[in-house]
Subunit: 507 residues, 2 copies
Amino acid sequence: MTTDTTKRTTLKALGALSLGATLPFTSQAASCSATDSTRWDASYDIICVGSGFTGLAAAIEAKRRGAQSVLVIEKMPYCGGNGVINAGQACFANTPLQNKLGIEDSAELMVSDQLKAGRGIADRALLEHNAKLGPYAFQMTKECGAVYLDFCQQPGGHSAPRSHQVVERSGAGIIRPMLAECEKQGIIVKTRVKFDDLVFNEQGRVSGIRVMEGHYHDRPGLGKPATLQATKGVVMATGGFTQNIRLRMAQDPTLTEEVVSTNAPGATGDGLIAMMKGGANPVHLAHIQSGPWASPDEGGFGYAPNYAIFNFPHSIAIDLMTGRRFMSELADRKTRADAELQRRDADGNPLPAILLTAKAHSSQNQHSLDNVLEAKVGWEFDSLEAVASHFNIPLAPLKAQVKEWNDYVTQGKDAQFGKPMNLTQGKQMSAPYSVIRLWPKVHYCMGGVQINTQAEVIAAATGAPIPGLYAGGEVAGGVHGVSRLGGCSIPDCLAMGITAARSIMKA
Amino acid sequence: MTTDTTKRTTLKALGALSLGATLPFTSQAASCSATDSTRWDASYDIICVGSGFTGLAAAIEAKRRGAQSVLVIEKMPYCGGNGVINAGQACFANTPLQNKLGIEDSAELMVSDQLKAGRGIADRALLEHNAKLGPYAFQMTKECGAVYLDFCQQPGGHSAPRSHQVVERSGAGIIRPMLAECEKQGIIVKTRVKFDDLVFNEQGRVSGIRVMEGHYHDRPGLGKPATLQATKGVVMATGGFTQNIRLRMAQDPTLTEEVVSTNAPGATGDGLIAMMKGGANPVHLAHIQSGPWASPDEGGFGYAPNYAIFNFPHSIAIDLMTGRRFMSELADRKTRADAELQRRDADGNPLPAILLTAKAHSSQNQHSLDNVLEAKVGWEFDSLEAVASHFNIPLAPLKAQVKEWNDYVTQGKDAQFGKPMNLTQGKQMSAPYSVIRLWPKVHYCMGGVQINTQAEVIAAATGAPIPGLYAGGEVAGGVHGVSRLGGCSIPDCLAMGITAARSIMKA
């Protein structure tokens, strides 16, 4: 087990992600299509809207496939979107690292786990496509320079350890080398360029986009409009809409502005809205996921998720009223988030559960333990008595629950909630303990525009692809169904970005 | 208890609903707006797209509020949409009939039942608005000539008997008098006119629609295009999309063409698609409801629903494998449909449950009993032995279950599934029995375009109403959340149609 102490990516480090050139588009105007009456300020083979995993993977793959000019635009002053603030955990099945660690896994098993979490409405074809592309996508990030930890984790809902995490423990550890690769390959990446709308030509093909240069997210309306041609295709990689309070409340009125989101402020759904107006078919917009590994004791994504994901397998989540477990700590995200939200006092007020872990085990990932303790999101206790006293938990049932759990560990079978016990072998619960509190935060939009396995965007009216328009990642919907499994966004984004580029370059 | 024997509306009777004039629009061209460059073939104050409850209520209310010229278009050769093939059950709270029957109820109680079924994402403001308008809507149908049975039923999820059913036991009993009222009021109703698209003027206001006259549903492409101006507003009352297999499968891949829908063939979502392209905000499209009162032994809506809805309170649903109940027969639709779909044999093949009823009780609605028996959707048995033998149910558990149920009836409390027992008083289960089989059919789209309590259609990009565009009924989404309660579509349609007309006439 590694105890790599590389620091979590800081905001300072993120500064390095702001490599957008500030040259106006008008100075770059090139070969404008003669068949199109639009007056273009600049022209590219391919334009990727958004600089997260999807946009960068599409750009890099497009170059690999022979694209001459590729533009990536990003409305924020820095690149990476949610990609630079997540935990950098990517699930791939049947990798060299898994083989080295003796972990049995397969793309089929991963898809079957994802379908289960999708509750019958996930898209099997898209999941299988992405799983198949996983090894290539993983390899691409490594060729760009991403460095992974030498162990695999098993996020909830997965039936094998298959989450590969970069040493930075943040997606920035993937985004940064991909941006360096973009620079090396002559891909133009521009920040503060806000996508405004799609441009269609007379034949109904997406021929470019309208943007605003010099955009400031907190001062909308500033900037200079430009019209950019994409001769081969536009890749929409604009992410979700959890930061658009109005839009998310239209789907779920409980997600008021008081509900914290783990996402980057740019996740406002502009790309989704433009594509719907362009005729794209929106699917599963009502399914918005909350992360069950979040703490109510810190803002944003925070430190708790990394700690919790590592420790869930050998920890127990305890209801403060009963002193008992109330869920499988490795259930899928929706199951756990729903269960956590039901932890309330007699008046219905939130009473966040605790995640109880033996320090003997949480200290095996000292880095994440230090983070939660330093941020005062986590606590240490010498005994169950101290835990019970601090959180006002009835002691006797808590003690009984810990004893019961230890029996399950011995037996290798969780008779209470059927939690997978493959990672808990020998990990008895004993003092001293580390503890965090659990309360879900809005994390991911399962919904978006319908796409096919070519990353083509499907029209609602006809079921046919909208020519020239491609999408992938969170802005595409229906892939994961009701609930996406943890660690499955990065591989999804990478695979669909790569697929979009391949489709464009062979079209 | 009435034993009204008025025949269920037959297809022949539906013929009377085809009152569309066939004069082409061009002969009616009137005052065309000078500020709009569109060349109009005809002009009206208000155009209602769709001739179900919503469209007709909007048209009638618009006339009441002083509209001069109102057009209702219907793409099918007959009027009424789903309205003429449903059971004609409409839930209103606190009506004169309820008072006469001594039923305690209120709008608040009805909304609270609906919110519960909505699982946290129903729109309280819209539900309250509709409940408040209920008595006016109910009265409007009676003033048009609808005649209601003299008892109330209690569909699943409702906590009081509040379903008012017309004597025809079909929504045609409401649609037909409303169509007669349209004729009386000079409202133009045209069939075989297919809505194609919205027309926006230079200010972004919906100024009219494009249609195809002389449309044949099974021969698309025929007909003559026309462009119709709506000087005051367009009311989209186009219903759901359960008959658009491609569209419903994009939301739920399990709803293949093999899955039967209870809906009219015109429910294909054209209006929804056009509004999304016009910038409307789609909400809850992923929530598609199946009716838990359907029989696998007949096509379409059929006779089983009417029978089942009347008998659910005093009947028990039995799993064929166990001989036991498996749900509250009065739970909300989603709860019951989900439970019914889980009735399977050891290989996972569907094994539809039976609904077991004492003939002493089902014969209290002889009309619906006769229907299921004549259609061979229902059976009669002299004893539990005969039931068990016919359906291959283990006899001992079945007998024990019936005895247990009868104890619940005596105690007035269902200890098994918490079913409301207010209607079962004294209704012990005893031979002889009547039986139908239960398997859900696709019935209703909870999703559609976002609207506000003015029936204005909300734009995804801005959250503001799209000027000139109104919607109500099934094409509007978000009202009911995850699961609409039975009998709540008709009042919803009527209330929102009325509201659209009022908003237009005061704008």
